[in-house]
């Protein structure tokens, strides 16, 4: 029986095999063919060698994540055969270089999968160089699935033509054709998993980090500072690549302390400014976070989580920083914490982060993780026209020039937000201070001033809360299982919901996007009215449940937690629920 457009492909090998680039080209090819794609990579913290693998899932329906099970494994070495062949579905295939690798039954450990040896090295050399082994494997993949080469050739041209010239593009096209022809000739119609083009849908294909970059640029971010740290570095690269075209300043700084303080300086002087880092870098930014809060300077920080503590697992994923981000820096102050769950969220919530930061003059932290930031997904093109950039109480030049004599930067107001002047504006001169201060910004230690200022800052969070949408419950109104989660498990949860639906298990899902201010009312209502609420998150102690207990005085007993540094697979959640239901 043939299976059409339900396909999961894995390429595995050492770093330097061109695994990521090859896989993304395959994904883009299928996206251009109107299919839905998702790609997630796993790699160790080193430059050459180690074990790397990339999953590309391709489907005729909208998909939300990768899957654990695969249909094709492209194994660039024996290690890859041994590690991944058990994940193949029955009837799945291993493509490998038959001249180089001789996998035995013991290596594969099963007899229900197809073996498709292709002389990857030989054909690559014939096309012009062994570096193109990956492209030969792509061609072979297309050959066994029945897709034609035309769209792939276009992607190869786009990928290589501009950067490396027509000759390189042509050599890759040749390599793809050699692999394709070999596969068609030898394995023809043998393979049961097929791919068929749909009508082109104009979707885009990008990573969470790229969506954050697009959102920041759309939001008018004009200054970005960062120190490289996985998995946030590709935000730095994306911003830097667009620096000239969009007239921004992007600075790779001497350290994260400089990064956050520069962003505060730029924000104070009137720019929408952002920095991005992972947990370790955020640890260095903690004092600067408090500085933004105390000086009431708008600031956006992306905290792309990875497992810790300390250096932890640099290239892996986790959600262990929730409490850290919520409490970082001294004393209490209002902050908004936003956790997008997919590439769409990354784009729109980044824009919202800038609006909130500027409207309420406070730090906003966008929390992601490696899985969300570095996985690629196809999505409908962002609706980026007509979005409102809310700059809050930024005073116009002519107002200040006429009324500046009475200007007070930290004026006590009902909503807690004070009119804001920026350097360069006549009439608005003031000094912002990291010390406690009075309405004019002058440092003060009197009790009543301290209370008035502290209360004013906290009123901003109450005001912001009115501006922040409640989390939405999606799925069956009356469900057997209610998923409650935040951040990157969103995709795997949605996939698991579809799997459970097939088994007749009704589910719904509450995605908590804003973790501060915490939507206690809505969460409490959902927990109370659910038949069986289940928290899903990537940490050991269920930090989200600790927030539910603290804010709602309720306890969610059932949890599906993963903290091995790997993202959730839909299968983890599906079997997790099955186990819970079996009692």
């Amino acid at each position: 029986m043939t299976v059409v457009n339900d396909f999961s492909w894995k390429i595995a090998g050492v770093a330097g095999d061109g695994i990521l680039n090859a896989g993304l080209m395959l994904a883009r090819t299928c996206m251009r063919g109107g299919l839905s794609v998702f790609a997630a990579a796993e790699y160790p913290s080193l430059i050459r060698g180690g074990h790397n693998h990339l999953d590309v899932r391709i489907s005729g329906r909208e998909i939300y994540s990768h899957t654990k099970n695969i249909t094709v494994l492209v194994a660039m070495n024996m290690d890859s055969v041994r590690k991944h062949s058990r994940k193949l579905l029955p009837g799945g295939a291993i493509i490998y270089d038959g001249d180089q690798l001789k996998p035995t039954e013991a290596d594969i450990g099963r007899d229900d999968v197809k073996l498709y040896p292709v002389p990857l090295l030989g054909l690559a050399e014939k096309a012009g160089g062994k570096i193109m082994r990956n492209v030969v494997a792509m061609g072979a993949t297309l050959g066994i699935t029945g897709l034609d080469l035309e769209a792939f050739n276009g992607v190869l041209r786009d990928n290589f033509g501009k950067k490396k010239g027509e000759a390189v593009a042509q050599a890759n096209i040749t390599a793809a054709k050699l692999g394709y022809d070999y596969a068609v000739e030898h394995y023809g119609n043998d393979f049961k998993f097929k791919l068929q083009k749909n009508e082109a849908n104009g979707h885009i294909f990008l990573s969470g980090n790229e969506a954050i970059v697009a959102g920041a640029i759309k939001a008018g971010c004009k200054f970005f500072s960062a120190y490289p740290m996985t998995p946030a570095s590709s935000i730095l690269h994306g911003m830097a690549a667009n620096e000239k075209a969009f007239g921004m300043v992007v600075k790779h700084t001497e350290d994260e302390i400089a990064a956050v303080n520069m962003a505060v300086g730029a924000g104070f002087a009137g720019l929408r400014a952002m920095t991005a880092t992972s947990g370790g870098g955020f640890a260095l930014m903690v004092e600067g976070l408090g500085l933004a809060a105390q000086t009431e300077t708008p600031l956006v920080i992306v905290e792309a989580q990875r497992p810790g503590p300390a250096t932890g697992m640099a290239t892996h994923s986790g959600q262990g920083d929730l409490r850290f981000v919520l409490h970082a820096s001294t004393d209490e102050f209002p902050r908004v914490v936003i956790a997008p769950g997919d590439v769409n969220d990354c784009f729109y919530y980044t824009i919202h982060a800038f609006n909130i930061a500027e409207k309420y003059q406070l730090p906003v932290i966008v929390m992601t993780d490696k899985y969300l930031g570095e996985s690629y997904a196809s999505a409908p093109e962002f609706q980026h026209h007509g979005l409102r950039m809310d700059r809050g109480k930024l005073l116009p030049d002519d107002y200040l020039a006429n009324n500046g004599h009475d200007y007070r930067r930290y004026k006590i107001t009902e909503d807690g937000v004070s009119p804001r002047a920026i350097p360069g504006q006549p009439g608005g001169a003031h000094t912002a201070s990291s010390y406690e201060h009075d309405e004019e910004g002058f440092e003060r230690e009197e009790e009543e001033i301290r209370i008035a200022m502290h209360d004013k800052r906290f009123r901003k969070l109450e005001s912001a809360a009115r501006d922040i949408p409640e989390p939405q419950l999606i799925g069956h109104p009356k469900a057997d299982i209610t998923f409650i989660s935040w951040g990157s498990p969103k995709g795997p949860i949605k996939e698991a919901m579809l799997m459970l639906e097939k088994d007749g298990i009704k589910t719904n899902y509450l995605q908590i996007v804003y973790l501060s201010p915490f939507p206690a009312g809505k969460v409490a209502e959902v927990v109370r009215h659910s038949k069986r609420p289940v928290i899903v998150e990537s940490n050991k102690t269920s930090l989200l449940n600790s927030l539910v207990r603290e804010n709602c005085l309720l306890d969610v007993k059932d949890k599906i937690l993963r903290y091995d540094g790997r993202p959730f697979n839909p299968e983890d959640i599906y079997y997790g629920i099955k186990e819970l239901l079996a009692g």
Binding site: K244, A245, V249, A258, F382, R388, D398, V417, G424, Y435
Partner: protein, 317 residues
């Protein structure tokens, strides 16, 4: 700025409640020459009697008056320390940030509006100790910043501990047996790390110091101005009398600030006689000059209401 923007003023007796801002209204004001009074706010400094910070504050204001600076386009950034309170006592824009972190704040502000005159004021602990990493990298960037270091060779605000510029043997609550390390040599560090204007002044030579500071503000590039100053409370070694005996002026010694090796030789002088004045000056493109996006209108004045990202999204197709 959205067209419907209303100034959110609540009752405060200024009679402006609910007034809408009319856009495009140009206020024509006659340009008056800047005076000391224009720069003096109502708050008074709280430093100890005899503190060099008074003179440095006075001299910064004096230099701004001499340059006829625009207070709205002047930004003083400081860290934390006795002298870091200086921005509060100068009626320009100011930012008193975190201990050691004034340089990155100043850098970000300069990127936001490269037409601002940004002056950074730090102490020796703030600038050369906790902020040392930022200092090195800020100097090699050669941003157009003027960095004035109030160097009294001791920690004042935290009550008398030794500082990165305290001499070996300096006894303090944190070094009761005497300091062991070699002190930081800010002038030599500035010359080697890429600062393009390196000077040392003395808080009690106010006219001389004013020329150094005004020169630093005018200089296009990173100006490091180390300023010797007595700490009347905690430094009993480097007193006014001590400085009187130990300082001489480079300008009177035939020093050529364009000669880098000569500047280094002067920077390494120690012992009985210490030079003050302009050690080194070099014309070199600033960091901003390497950024075409900072050629025209400051980024802070750009309209961000409708940025078109269509070309960027095309690349994801």
């Amino acid at each position: 700025m959205p067209a419907e923007f209303k100034v959110p003023l609540n009752g405060n007796g200024n009679g402006l409640n609910g007034i809408e801002v009319s856009h495009g209204l140009k206020v024509l004001q006659e340009k008056k020459k800047l005076t000391m009074a224009d720069l003096t706010p109502k708050e008074l400094p709280t430093w100890c009697g005899g503190c060099g910070d008074f003179n440095i504050l006075f001299t910064i204001k004096n230099a701004l008056v001499e340059l006829d600076a625009d207070p709205a386009n002047t930004l003083l950034v400081s860290g934390i320390g006795c002298g870091s309170k200086t921005p509060h006592f100068v009626k320009t824009y100011g930012f008193e940030g975190l201990h050691g972190r004034s340089l990155p704040v100043a850098t970000g502000a300069k990127f936001a509006n490269h037409k601002l005159d940004v002056i950074v004021v730090t102490g020796d602990g703030d600038g050369y100790g906790i902020g040392g990493n930022h200092l090195i990298h800020s100097m090699r960037r050669n941003l157009d910043l003027t960095h004035i270091v109030q160097n009294n060779e001791v920690y004042g605000l935290t009550k008398g501990q030794y500082s990165p510029t305290s001499p070996p043997g300096f006894k303090s609550p944190s070094t009761p047996q005497g300091a062991i390390e070699e002190p930081v040599n800010p002038v030599a560090l500035g010359i080697t790390m890429g600062a393009t204007y390196v000077a040392r002044g003395y808080a009690y030579e106010v006219n001389h110091l004013k020329q150094l500071i005004a020169g630093g503000i005018k200089h296009k590039g990173y100006a490091l101005i180390d300023v010797f100053q007595p700490c009347s409370t905690y430094n009993k070694v480097n007193t006014i009398a001590w400085y009187k005996e130990h300082l001489y002026k480079l300008e009177e010694a035939g020093h050529d600030p364009k000669d880098k090796m000569q500047a280094m030789a002067r920077a390494m002088e120690g012992g009985d006689k210490l030079p003050i004045g302009l050690f080194y000056k070099e014309e070199k493109p600033t960091y901003e000059a390497g950024l075409p996006q900072l050629n025209g209108v400051p980024l802070s004045k750009m309209d961000i209401s409708n940025i078109d990202i269509t070309p960027m999204l095309e690349r994801f197709k």
